[in-house]
Structure formats: C-alpha cells, structure tokens
C-alpha cells in the first residue's frame, strides 16, 4: 500500500470513530440526564444554563418518592403482569406450535391460516370491544383483566411452529417407541430441549409487556392495580414541574429492564434476530 492510501485509511477510521461517538452520546444522553436530574435539588433541576453534574447528590428525592408513592406496589404489579403473560405465552405457544408442526389432525391447514390471519388485527381496532367484553366478564381492575388479553399471540405460535418443524424427528420417535404418549413426548423431550429459544422469546415478551400503557390505563382504576408505566405518568401529573422527583421515579421505572438487559443481553439480541418483532 502506498502512503496516501494508508493516510486515507487512518483518516477514514478517525471519521468513523467520531461519528460513532457522537451518535453514542445522543443515544445515551437521555439516560444520563435522567439520572443526573433525579439527584438534583428541586431548584437546580430547573436552573438555566443547566448543570450536567448535580452540585449535591440528593438521595431524599428517592426516599420522598417511596414515602409518597407506592412504587413498590407498582413494581410488584408489573412483575406479576409481565411475568404471567410471559410464562403462559411460552407454555401455550409452544404447545400450539408443537401441535401445528409435529402432529397430524384434520383441519390443520385451515386452523394454521386462521391463527395467522389474527396477526393482521391491530390492537387499536379491537380495544373498544375488548374493553367491553373484559368488563362484562368482571375482570375490570383485576390482574386477570391485565394479563389474559396479552397471552394469545399468533406470531409467537408461528415462531415456535417454525422452531419445532426443524426439531430432530428421531428424538420424538425414540421416545414414542419407549411408550411415551404425544403429550409425554412434548413435556419430557421437546419442551426441555427448546429452552434456548424460549429464553430468547421470553425476554422479548417480558420487556414488551413491562412497557404496556394504554390497556392498563383503560382497564384499571384503583391505585392498587397500577402498573409502573401508568404510575410514572400519574406521578408526572401529581408533581407538575417537580422534575427531580419525576425523574427519580423514571429512574426507578427503568431499573428492572436495565437489569434484565445486563444479565440477558445475548438472549435479547438473539431473540430479536429470531422474532424480529415485538408484540
């Protein structure tokens, strides 16, 4: 390589690095700004020009918040809702996916197309009748009302069907020869062996259900049933312009998903690659 080519290459690498860093700042800044604001005294958070680093670290923002707002309760609610949706989704979708992939029964094609076609129904077009139905059943302002509507999900069924189609047939056959029933084969062989894809899907399901806002907004009314996103918006209305407290709440609301992200980063990335879509 001649000299100008090398120079060119170094120049290019520097440009790329600068670009990478500038974009990284844009992506990460809101996090830092949130945390910085969460520790500021209430007058400093509205100061102009803004201070990047708080002049004093005010932990009281958090303790005050926990005293005034039952954040613990919101967290538990969100865990119950997102956790239950995830667990039941994974179980039901792998059962349905397995049947569609490996079992022979009449009307299979028709059923599969029927399941897939529900994927075309956007949530906002059914939110009104769904609300009426759930209310009629008596699930208004209950965990069941928050959880049940998010379990059936055609895309999850489709993905697991694709997975079980590629599943080694010999394993199931061997188990069947040993006298295992179809249900036995599924629960003893297929399900335990699909742990990696279930983990990847599970993370995606959990995060997208942690995020839900509109449905909890209309289907719950009491403070005891409030989930985290709802609680944080409520908080914003309650502490208008008390940005340090609002941001402290926002910071707390991020912690669970950040922990999941740190622990399961590889699963998340794998989950996105296999699913390509959030609910």
């Amino acid at each position: 390589m001649n000299r100008s080519a090398i120079k060119n290459l170094i120049f290019k690498k520097i440009i790329i690095r600068i670009l990478l860093i500038v974009i990284a700042i844009i992506m990460v800044f809101p996090f830092l700004w949130m945390v910085s604001g969460a520790f500021k005294p209430s007058d400093e958070v509205m100061e102009y020009p803004p201070k990047i680093i708080p002049s004093e670290i005010r932990y009281e923002n958090f303790t005050e918040l926990f005293k005034e707002v039952s954040f613990g309760r919101y967290m538990i609610n969100s865990f119950i809702v997102a956790g239950s949706v995830t667990i039941f989704s994974l179980l039901f979708h792998s059962m349905a996916g397995y049947a569609l992939a490996r079992l022979r029964f009449p009307g299979k094609r028709f059923l599969f197309i029927g399941i897939l076609s529900t994927m075309m129904i956007p949530f906002y077009s059914i939110v009104i009748p769904l609300f009426i139905i759930i209310k009629q059943i008596g699930w208004y302002d209950t965990y069941l009302g928050l959880i049940i509507p998010w379990i059936p999900h055609a895309f999850g069924i489709f993905l697991l069907r694709q997975y079980y189609i590629g599943f080694p047939k010999e394993l199931a056959d061997a188990a069947a020869i040993d006298g295992c029933s179809h249900i036995g084969v599924f629960f003893r062989i297929a399900l335990p062996l699909s742990k990696p894809i279930l983990a990847a899907l599970g993370v995606v399901f959990f995060i997208s259900n942690w995020d839900r806002f509109l449905w909890p907004l209309i289907i719950t009314s009491s403070a005891e049933m409030r989930v985290v996103p709802l609680g944080i918006v409520q908080l914003k209305g309650q502490y208008v312009a008390h940005w340090n407290l609002i941001l402290a709440g926002a910071t707390i609301a991020c912690i669970p998903t950040i922990i999941i992200f740190i622990l399961l980063q590889n699963f998340i990335v794998k989950g996105i690659k296999t699913t390509g879509i959030k609910q």
């Binding site: 992506m27 809101p30 020009p49 022979r104 529900t118 906002y124 009104i128 944080i232 940005w243 941001l247």
Partner: protein, 295 residues
C-alpha cells in the same frame, strides 16, 4: 372412506386438541369475537349504558364530516411519513456504521441498543424534560450554537416531529440489530466479486448491499408502518394530542371518543377505518417492495 379415517390416529388428534385449545380459545375471545363485535358496533350508537341503537352508516358519515377526525387522519398520515423513513434509513445507517471490525465496536452496538430498554412512557417523560422550552437541555444546545430557542412540544409546527424523534430514538437500535443480522448474512463472495469488477464501497452498497437487504428493508418498513399507525403512548404523555390538535393521531381520536366521551359506536367505526388503513397500507407496501424480488 376407510382410508380417510385411517389417516389420523385418535390419540394424536386428541393430543393436538389438548395442545391447541388454550391458544385457539384465547385468540377467539381476544381477536375474532372483538373484531366481529367492533364491526357490529360501528353500525350502532351506544354509550355503554343505554340500549344499543342501530344507526346504519350514520357513524361513518359523521366521521367523514367531523373536522377533528379528518384532522387526525392528516396528522396520522404525516406521522407515518416522518416516522417510517427516519427509522428505516436511520437504523440501516447505524447498522452499516457498526458493521465493521473495530475492536471497540461491540460497546457501540450495546450503547445504540440501550434506548429500547427504557420504557416508552419513561422515554417520553425524560424527553419532555429535555424539550422544556425555558430550561430544557435541547434549547441550551441551541443556545450554545447561537440558534434561537424553540417551543418544541408547545409549537404547532414542531410538536409532531418532536414526538416522532422520541419514538424513533427508542426504536433505532432495535432495527439496527435486525439490519445488522441481515448485513452479516450477505455472503462475502458478492463483495469480492464486485471488487474484482472495480466497484468502490459506495457502488458496492448500491449494487450488492441494498438488493440483498431488500427482504429485511421490506420487513422493517412494514412493521414500522403498522407501529406508526398505532402509536399512542408517546402522544399521550407528551402532548395529549395538542397543541391545537397538531399531534392528534387516529388512535388518540379513538381513545377520546370511546373512553372519554363514551361514543362507542363512533369510536368503533373509526377503529374499522384504522384497520382498513393498516391492512391496505401494509399490503400495498409489501406489493411495491416485493416487486422484482428473487426469493
């Protein structure tokens, strides 16, 4: 006849029924019955308390005469027009940028992905703080560069793009990962071949990368179109449809008519139209983008 019965084993059929029952019953109650119900309601007038009254096409006629609904249609259209290209091109650009072998590149990928970890509602709140006209950080930056201060969410002209930026900021890293997976799937041979033909990296991108990524681009665009047509959370937190209905999306219209003014029939007919828009929009996009695909 005998053959037909022999094709299926009783035990297998029973097992399939057991496996499929929970999800099929669920889909029936959560999707199929509601979609029939919403169609039925769209031809009726109902507040949720009094008896349901048949009104024929009245709801639809009301919609097309309602300036607010027409406005929300325009706003939604504009929102899609801003959001879909920003996210598609932005995430593709990020993917190309992080698809190199610098030693620290994994760190950047992680950082770009980070925003998706922030719940959308929280992201909206933090950005609202950043957008604050008087002491917000964005105006501080504008100030440093000698630009005039902006109202952002408070301005009729800037509110919509400000909301789009929040949603896009959060989604970019997610689709970056999908594009990155697509980029890694392109066989190196194609690049080598084009290099032999004397193509520079720009030409390689146009003639190798883009055609090979077409299925991924199609996927990302369709998914984002569907997402954009259904955005609600960010608008609810940031602007509540304002100022002066500048961010009044279709979903917000449905929410207000249905749950605030209890016009279930009218909101249902708006839901049906949103459904039609989403279906035709995504099918049209698929058709246009699928043209000339060699799969």
């Amino acid at each position: 006849m005998n053959k037909l019965f022999k094709k299926y084993k009783k035990q297998e059929v029973l097992a399939a029924g057991f496996f499929l029952a929970p999800d099929v019953i669920g889909l029936l109650f959560i999707y199929v019955i509601p979609i029939i119900f919403v169609l039925y309601l769209s031809f009726h007038s109902w507040t949720g308390f009094d008896p349901i009254k048949f009104t024929g096409l009245n709801n639809y006629l009301t919609l097309f005469k309602d300036p607010l609904w027409l406005k929300s249609l325009r706003v939604t259209f504009l929102y899609v027009l801003l959001y879909v290209p920003i996210v598609t091109l932005g995430s593709l650009g990020l993917a190309v940028l992080v698809n190199n072998n610098l030693p620290e590149i994994k760190l950047f990928r992680t950082l770009y992905f980070l925003p998706i970890v922030m719940p959308l509602v929280v992201a909206a709140i933090v950005w609202e703080f950043i957008y604050t006209p008087s002491y917000g950080f964005l105006n501080y930056i504008f100030d440093i560069f000698g630009l005039s201060k902006h109202a952002f969410l408070g301005s009729q002209n800037e509110a919509l793009i400000s909301v789009v930026i929040v949603s896009a900021w959060r989604q970019l890293g997610y689709y970056m990962i999908i594009f990155l997976a697509g980029l890694k799937d392109i066989p190196e041979v194609y690049y080598d071949a084009s290099k032999v033909d004397g193509a520079n990296s720009f030409k390689q991108f146009i003639h190798v990368t883009l055609p090979m990524l077409k299925p991924v681009i199609t996927f990302v665009m369709v998914v984002n179109l569907i997402f954009a047509l259904q955005d609600f959370d960010a608008v609810y937190v940031l602007t509540r449809g304002g100022p002066n209905y500048a961010t009044y999306l279709q979903t917000y219209y449905i929410y207000e008519e249905g749950f605030k003014f209890l016009k279930m029939g009218l909101a249902s007919s708006a839901s049906i139209i949103l459904l039609i828009i989403i279906l035709t929009g995504s099918l049209a996009q698929l058709k246009i983008l699928r043209g000339g695909e060699y799969e």
